[in-house]
């Protein structure tokens, strides 16, 4: 999968990776950080901070990233023509439940002789 090397993209990736690392005790940090291009030694306490502080920070960043990602995803969906009217109009059961048949009143003597 091609990754775009934008600042926002890197932020999301790094935050998510840090969050995963924090939540899973760093078990997958090496492989995931290798995938993202983020140096693995960045996860360790080489900058003089305590590991537990780092876990908390990364957890918060993860939550933030997830929220931002959700907002962007929702916005993308709302501008996509396939995800609004079509949600109902491609769903036969949904349309059937909403369908209101026309009221047709026939006169008593109407019709072909």
């Amino acid at each position: 999968m091609k990754q775009e090397n934008t600042a926002f993209g890197n932020f999301i990736r790094i935050s998510m990776l840090q969050g995963v690392t924090a939540l899973q005790g760093g078990r997958f940090s090496v492989s995931l950080c290798f995938y993202s291009g983020h140096p693995t030694n960045g996860m360790k306490s080489t900058h003089g901070r305590d590991v537990s502080d780092m876990k908390a920070t990364t957890f918060i960043l993860t939550i933030t990233a997830v929220i931002i990602f959700s907002v962007y995803a929702e916005k993308a969906d709302s501008t996509d023509p396939k995800n609004s009217c079509v949600q109902c109009h491609t769903n036969a059961k949904k349309i059937q439940s909403l369908y209101v048949p026309p009221k047709i009143e026939f006169k008593q003597d109407e019709g072909e002789g």
Partner: protein, 348 residues
């Protein structure tokens, strides 16, 4: 039927019509969470205004505005001959736009969704695909009172030979005629390039001498349908008088109301004198227009009783209008359509 409103998901990715989303044409609120909220401001038939299609289909939209399917001028023309000039004004002001013109066909009625009459509609033709033609659901819906069932044999009498060999409406009624040519005709009978039998069946190239002779003798005086309509066809009675319509099978030959020198098949389309009484129209010229229109019944066959035997017309006078056959209480103009064929001179 609810299925008529279900869009096929697979059409959305492959058709450029959907690139701008549903609301580009239909308006409404795509973020509405309920049916009612989503449908606020909805335009059900965007192509009621041909300009909505004209952004891409500019030429067609321009000519279509003058076509009879859009102007419905033929309906107006069919009745105003009975009106005084004052009544025509009243009709245009109070009846035509509000009533007759509701039957116009928008682009989408033929290409996306079947046409509507009141609230009756067959729905999307093919899951909102933009189709070139779907005659059964489009032509057949509006013209299903007479011509289409005749053509397809749904009256149980006979199928038109052209339908029998797999032809459909569009084989004769070309898309150029449907889309208009920029001329605002008042009747389909005035359209310059309307379908003609001779386009496919030119006279002089008949296989049999009998046919060649018959066509030569009747050229310009008898229409093709007069001899080649195999069976009876639908004739309407009691329409427009507030009691519902009634149709009867029948076959009438007589003078063409638009050209009395020509004998043709006639279809009864009686008009009650008090049809528009509510708006003050009493049809001051009621007696000037006959209750029979020159018609092309779609029950065509090569061999009929009349092609087989000239005496069916010239001696038996089968199908020819007589005073006793005329609509009771109809206008005096009906009598002008009566024609008595002469016996064939001996030796011919």
């Amino acid at each position: 039927m609810y299925k008529g409103f279900v869009v096929s998901p697979d059409v959305l990715d492959n058709d450029p019509h959907f690139e701008q989303g549903c609301t580009f044409c239909h308006q409404g609120d795509e973020n509405g969470s309920t049916r009612e909220a989503a449908h606020i401001g909805l335009i059900r038939r965007p192509s009621d205004d041909p300009d909505s299609c004209g952004g891409c289909h500019e030429d067609i939209a321009a000519t279509y505005k003058t076509s009879l399917h859009y102007t419905t001028a033929g309906l107006r023309q069919g009745i105003i001959g009975r009106f005084s000039s004052r009544e025509i004004e009243t009709f245009d002001r109070s009846v035509f736009q509000q009533s007759c013109r509701n039957c116009h066909a928008a682009c989408g009625d033929c290409h996306v969704k079947g046409p509507s009459f009141d609230e009756i509609c067959t729905g999307l033709l093919k899951g909102h695909r933009f189709v070139r033609s779907e005659e059964k659901k489009t032509c057949g819906f509006c013209h299903g009172g007479r011509v289409y069932p005749e053509f397809t044999g749904q009256y149980g009498v006979v199928k038109d030979v052209h339908f029998d060999i797999g032809m459909t409406c569009m084989n004769c009624h070309k898309k150029e005629a449907m889309h208009g040519n920029g001329v605002s005709y008042s009747s389909r009978k005035d359209v310059a390039d309307r379908p003609r039998c001779e386009n496919c069946h030119p006279t002089g190239k008949e296989k049999s001498e009998k046919a060649k002779k018959a066509h030569g003798l009747h050229k310009d005086t008898v229409t093709c349908t007069a001899c080649h309509s195999l069976s009876t066809y639908k004739n309407c009675y009691n329409c427009h008088i507030g009691k519902g319509g009634e149709s009867k099978s029948g076959f009438f030959l007589g003078k063409n109301p638009r050209n009395p020198a020509v004998i043709t098949t006639l279809r009864a389309v009686p008009t009650a004198k008090d049809t528009f009484k509510k708006v003050g129209i009493t049809m001051e010229k009621y007696n000037d227009v006959p209750n029979y229109h020159d018609a092309v019944p779609h029950v065509i066959r090569k061999i009929t009783e009349r092609t087989n035997n000239c005496n069916m017309c010239h001696l038996v006078k089968m199908g020819f209008l007589t005073k006793s056959k005329l609509v009771k209480g109809g206008p005096k103009a009906n009598e002008s359509l009566i024609y008595q064929p002469r016996p064939i001179p001996p030796g011919n």
